[in-house]
Symmetry: C2
Subunit: 175 residues, 2 copies
């Protein structure tokens, strides 16, 4: 699928195909559809990030709160979005030992209590040991700094999901 195909979609197709580039926030793809045509992936992405940047802090935190826990209930119950499922499985999070699972659950819980949103990281650019270290490290961030760090991960995830879409065959049914 190339950017011309993306630009030619009506809003229904656009939201079907790009709705989850920001996890569980189809509103964002649906909003930037108004801003077609995009010159390329970077341009489309820029509109997504500009939209997020213009949200109030509560909205930015809201985006993070739409993300699942790493190796949480939704991974175990297979109720993740297909994208998150692939990302978490690919990073080895479906094969944690009991001690790893316990420790990650504990850190997730501590992180959520401190920041009011779940720990978000681009799992495809990481592995379980690195994610655990990053979680421990970022737990010590000041809240404003951590909000920025978490949104930077949302951007990486978005970029990878967009690359997948643009690399895919054009038939949305196959995505």
């Amino acid at each position: 699928m190339d950017i011309q195909m993306v630009n030619s979609m009506d809003f229904g197709e656009f939201v079907d195909v790009l709705g989850n580039i920001i996890e569980k926030c189809p509103l964002i793809a649906a909003a930037i559809w108004s801003q077609r045509p995009f010159t390329d992936l970077d341009d489309l992405e820029k509109h997504v990030f500009d939209f997020i940047e213009a949200l109030p802090q509560s909205g930015k935190e809201g985006i993070l709160r739409c993300h699942p826990d790493l190796a949480g209930r939704e991974l175990q119950q297979a109720t993740l979005t297909p994208e998150s499922q692939r990302e978490q499985r690919g990073a080895g999070l479906s094969n944690l030992g009991p001690e790893e699972r316990r420790r990650l659950g504990e850190l997730n819980c501590e992180y959520k209590a401190r920041f009011g949103f779940p720990f978000v990281i681009a799992a495809r650019l990481s592995d379980k040991a690195t994610m655990m270290r990053e979680l421990e490290r970022r737990l010590h961030n000041q809240p404003a700094r951590e909000l920025r760090a978490a949104l930077a991960e949302v951007r990486k995830i978005c970029h990878l999901r967009l690359e997948d879409i643009l690399r895919s065959p054009g038939d949305p049914a196959k995505l």
Copy 2:
């Protein structure tokens, strides 16, 4: 469930229970969670509407684009959200005759081409004849006026969904 129960939820529960008060936009419930405690339903609702009001026009249109067509493909394929399913069925949209279905499809299509978002109406406050008339009438609105009219319907839908939640027993699993 009373407002104290709503206020006492962590963000995961809050988004599970209230995530769809604005159709497919859990981001909005997730955002306003930051603004607890709410004094009552009206107060919670005000935070939702203030959040929407502060969005750029593209974001407001984005919310509308997350709504399904009336009596569209998703109703037929039973892929609507549970809330929309109940609302559309309740309004008699699952029992259209072939001629009604054809006419509604035609009007939906015309509406979407004109405004760039689907026709949204609080189906529970209406019936199929009224909805058809409203669709015909609103097709003639100027775009800025129609955006306001459509968002007013989003608010009515949100109000009814919130009333349902606050009337329901407290166990989120039963919602």
